[in-house]
Symmetry: C3
Subunit: 474 residues, 3 copies
């Protein structure tokens, strides 16, 4: 708590009146439970509650924020124990991986990764000295010992982190065994916690997804529907959405390359579906099929009430040689320009005026905050804006989001914070960072006299807790 | 004046030396008369000087900034009394509309609408308590009573607001009866005020404008020119420009979808004109025709001295179902990416080196401030930059404009402030906001020692008053 | 030193704790030698060490930052003595040019040019009063007299400016006589200075460059290679790279219109080369040829160790009438949107994972900082980011660069400061400005408690000195 690694005033504005007010505002949100409606933790952790293995496996190898930076400076992924596409690794000793990481910890200066990790070191492991080559052994020992104790098992940490609601993200072909187990487990109820899944249908909506045809076959098998017809395919999707809702899902999640939407004649989309199913589809047709299916998904959301999340704009696996050797999710997904105005028009023309529907937009292209997203969300009843995402889930990234979005869309067309993380231990660090940035932003509005202090306190709670619960229908 | 709704230091930087200097700089501009060279108020108000009807009709139903935010949060436009495309409304009682607005006033937290409205409530109506559900009745009573008094008629407010010059915006087919009446009225001269029109020829330059063919016929009728030929069309345009100048106009205004310009061979443009006139033009040809005509307009400006304003980049009527039901200007115009570098090259190659010509560029795409507009305006003698516009006419929008434009274009290639508003009562609020932001920006330059204090005072006056008068040739 | 034109605290953040720390950090870098690894000074100055002629020829006519602003406000380039394309000028007396400049010095308020020039006036010429119409004569006299003294000859200034390393930029057809003379001169060694060239092959890589075919002939002549074949052309390029390395070059520099790269089959590129060589190439083919050759250059850099600099995104000579009359480099180069993600993929797929190669990317399109460049540089081992460039080499331009780049790419994927200037006297001013902005940025991170003070001092030195030496392999 009093670790010198993290300062009680960190991330607040420096000007004295604003700093003082930021502290007061933050004090009213620091103890609110965490709502984590969008993320990528492993549900097995909470269903099985087994100890985490070691510091390197917990904090380095699964976190592409960490190893992409090390790789960018010439370190070898093999030396870091990153698994190759065939599942093999050089099996470096975790102590050696940790030492390599510590030797290069200076690379993270100025990045949010540094802020999150120092928070984890200080708050979760109560370490008091900076991570350096010289302290690497000490860090490893402290963390490794802690992980072997019951207090550092997933459920104990979940409670300690004061998480009230956590959503994971699964493929529509996932049978959700861990969420099923959690449904029948007494722990969540007794401790008043919820862990749910999210429906992420990219593997069966995107004809360019690896194994698309096999995925459709599996979709048919799971749902007992004939996915060789478009009608059967739609029914199968409805069926899986219902299955996910039974496992707690309140939302779907869509990570298409672009935000393009379309509404095609039934005959045309059936033709595209046949081509997609049989692998006879070309790239523009695949884009059109995805575009149509996004609108279909909005229609299903209008029917079944699931919140729809859209986050386009990543050029996945940009580094071909790296992809060939190490596979997906190795830090080589690069943002690209994303058009929302033309792209979303077909979907919005059909469903955007439906005030009972919630569509949450994210972007990796910050130029659209003030130009496109805020004007769209400040008009269409169905639209809301997700928080600063991925590379922009950072102090200045969040400040730019608030500054460029709020004046046109207000606060109430946003949905609070998402941590979007695979790194379980970083969840409180990330929510803490967001609450601090929001406290500072609100304090600045009060100090410049465009917001009353009572309003700032009300908004701080909304941004930290209520907006997320409301938007995700929790 | 001492209403607690607005603070004397609002919108100034918080750091103490900068705050103190901002106050001093602002003190030298607060009493300067208002120059409003670009706006959309109704000239009938000033020609006829009739009382405004009621608070809702004055402040809510005509202001799409206000009702778009309410609509985005699920409120019904019918309940707000917004007229449908056929002119009908549900005629909700204005008191009920006002209550609905008051119940949702929290939605505007963090937006410039809130700043403007609080300014109006405090400065124009001298109300002292925040607008809430509970104070809605009180507000309605105070405002409604005031509107019935002579002190709140348009001319009295015009004088009270210290407006020296106001431009409205009219179609080239408008016969300008109200501006005609004002020419023959003694009030403007006696009180040293000017109210003029602006020539906005989109309805006769854009083949995709509603009723384009009929508009050309009417243009011919008004000017006694044969608009079935391109030569007659050009003469008719020159004729209407002269008519507008007789009614005080010093400027034209062009709101094309893009900034594209072109200079075509006469035979080619005549062919396009024939196609446009007879409705046989396709979308790319319509774009090309508009592009050519923008260059023609620059040529006419070079001849007749009218300042040319170009503000492209809005995707008009994005929400088709809403447009079908409620028509234009319902808050569904959405900005889009706008290219200026290639787009303006033909026009600038022809007229950009003419130092006697003034072309004022606006944008809804902030990414062009530093990349395109400032470099262009910092080079071409004919070019100047309009202020932060529309969604960016806001505290942070203006700060970004100054920060991203000044270093490359300087202050002298900008043209002061435009309020661009339909909301008459917000004019002083908007100019006050701009003067405060500029005072703060200049104070920051002085405090960081890159500008002397005497220069800051000189620039403050220019930004608040002289640059607009000079640029618009007032 | 104590000239009132420049304040010791200029450009530091205003908040008192941050200001105090900025001063301390800056104090540790102010005396570090200058590393200037990318610029456009004339090597003849240092080889021949002749006096500069007069104030106008030194500070105004060669600096397009200066005369573009004057031109944008209607001043005549002829009156400023800017040479026309045919080499002629009106030969205005330098005193008159200086007076004109002084009369309009207010136009530079808020620009970095003002900051640089005041620095030059104060620090180099020890002038104490602002430049105005009234002080123009005094300024002219002081500067002109100084230029006639030995202390103001190029080498004396070089030493006074504490420049340790300076790179100029030359065409591959340049025989580098001045660099040759400097190699055999004792002055650099005795004073421990290095002046080197940089290999800028645009004239022989870009089929649309003026005189491309003749350039290839000359390239063949210089290298004794048969440039009528693609194989001979590649050998000739390797030969010139070696020649440049013998003259100290550690880097190449590439200013293509776009960042597009490609890797074509040998037969295809040979066909393109033949078309380019014989003037039978069209625009898309020229783009493709440039794209391929950028990848060839990366391959040669991988072999010979030269650092590769890429700075695309300028629309050169935008103002056609001005170009026709005055030629290149007259302030009419305008930035345009630049895509890096798709454009660089072919090159990066081939060489981006090579940690022994260094490719430094620059941009004139700030929107790519956070969206494209920082994510790319934070992943690919070969990539690093050049500093804020050209129009963005300014206080706020640099702040935006740090804020938008650091969180994703860190500090260690950047390369320190480049002055990129033709204006020799402005070199210390520009490095001083950069060191001040970086001191302020680092101080802000410390004051917001996301960086320790010891780290800030370490980083300040890196940003001011070591990163440039390391990245450019000096």
């Amino acid at each position: 708590m009093t670790s010198s690694l993290i300062h009680p005033d960190r991330l607040f504005p420096s000007e004295s009146r604003t700093l003082a007010l930021s502290r007061e505002i933050y004090r009213t949100t620091v103890s609110l439970p965490i709502i984590s409606p969008h993320g990528h933790t492993d549900p097995a952790w909470f269903a099985q509650n087994e100890s985490f293995t070691n510091p390197a496996d917990l904090l380095i190898t699964p976190d592409h924020y960490v190893f992409r930076m090390l790789y960018s400076q010439g370190l070898s992924l093999d030396d870091l124990g990153i698994p190759r596409a065939d599942g093999s690794t050089d099996n470096p000793p975790p102590e050696a991986v940790w030492q390599l990481f510590a030797d290069n910890y200076h690379l993270f200066r100025g990045t949010p990764t540094r802020v999150w990790l120092d928070h984890v070191f200080a708050e979760v492991f109560e370490i008091d000295e900076p991570l350096t080559s010289g302290t690497a052994d000490h860090y490893y020992g402290v963390i490794d010992s802690a992980l072997k104790t019951p207090e550092f098992r997933p459920r104990a940490l979940f409670e300690r982190f004061n998480i009230e609601f956590l959503a994971t993200t699964e493929s529509p072909l996932d049978t959700l065994p861990h969420h099923g187990a959690l449904k029948n487990d007494s722990w969540p109820k007794e401790t008043n916690r919820r862990i749910v899944t999210t429906f992420r249908p990219d593997p069966v909506l995107d004809p360019e997804f690896e194994g698309f045809a096999e995925n459709l076959t599996e979709l048919g098998r799971l749902t007992n529907e004939d996915t060789s017809t478009f009608a059967g395919y739609l029914r199968a999707l409805e069926n899986r959405r219902a299955f996910f809702r039974e496992h707690g899902a309140t939302a779907t999640d869509h990570g298409h390359p672009t935000a393009r939407t379309a509404w095609l004649d039934r005959a045309d989309v059936e033709k595209l579906y046949d081509a997609a199913r049989t692998g006879a589809i070309n790239a523009p047709e695949a884009e059109l099929f995805r575009a149509h299916m996004l609108t279909e998904m909005a229609g299903m959301s209008a029917d079944d009430g699931m919140v729809m999340q859209i986050h386009p704009g990543s050029h996945r696996n940009h580094n071909q040689p790296l992809f060939d050797r190490y596979g997906r999710d190795r830090g080589a997904d690069i943002p690209q320009t994303t058009n929302y105005v033309d792209a979303l028009k077909p979907l919005l023309g059909r469903y955007g005026n439906n005030a009972d529907l919630t569509i949450i937009l994210f972007t990796l292209d910050e130029t659209v905050y003030s130009r496109e997203l805020a004007p769209l969300a400040g008009h269409y009843p169905a639209l809301k804006l997700g928080p600063a995402w991925w590379f922009h889930d950072s102090p200045d990234g969040m400040r730019r989001f608030r500054r460029q979005v709020t004046e046109t869309a207000g606060f109430y067309n946003t949905v609070g914070f998402n941590d979007d993380t695979r790194a379980f231990l970083s969840i409180p660090a990330r929510h803490d960072l967001a609450r601090r940035i929001d406290a500072g932003f609100l304090a600045e509005l009060v100090v410049e006299h465009t917001l009353r202090e009572d309003e700032a306190y009300e908004l701080a709670r909304l941004l930290a807790y209520d907006l997320a619960k409301d938007a995700y229908r929790i």
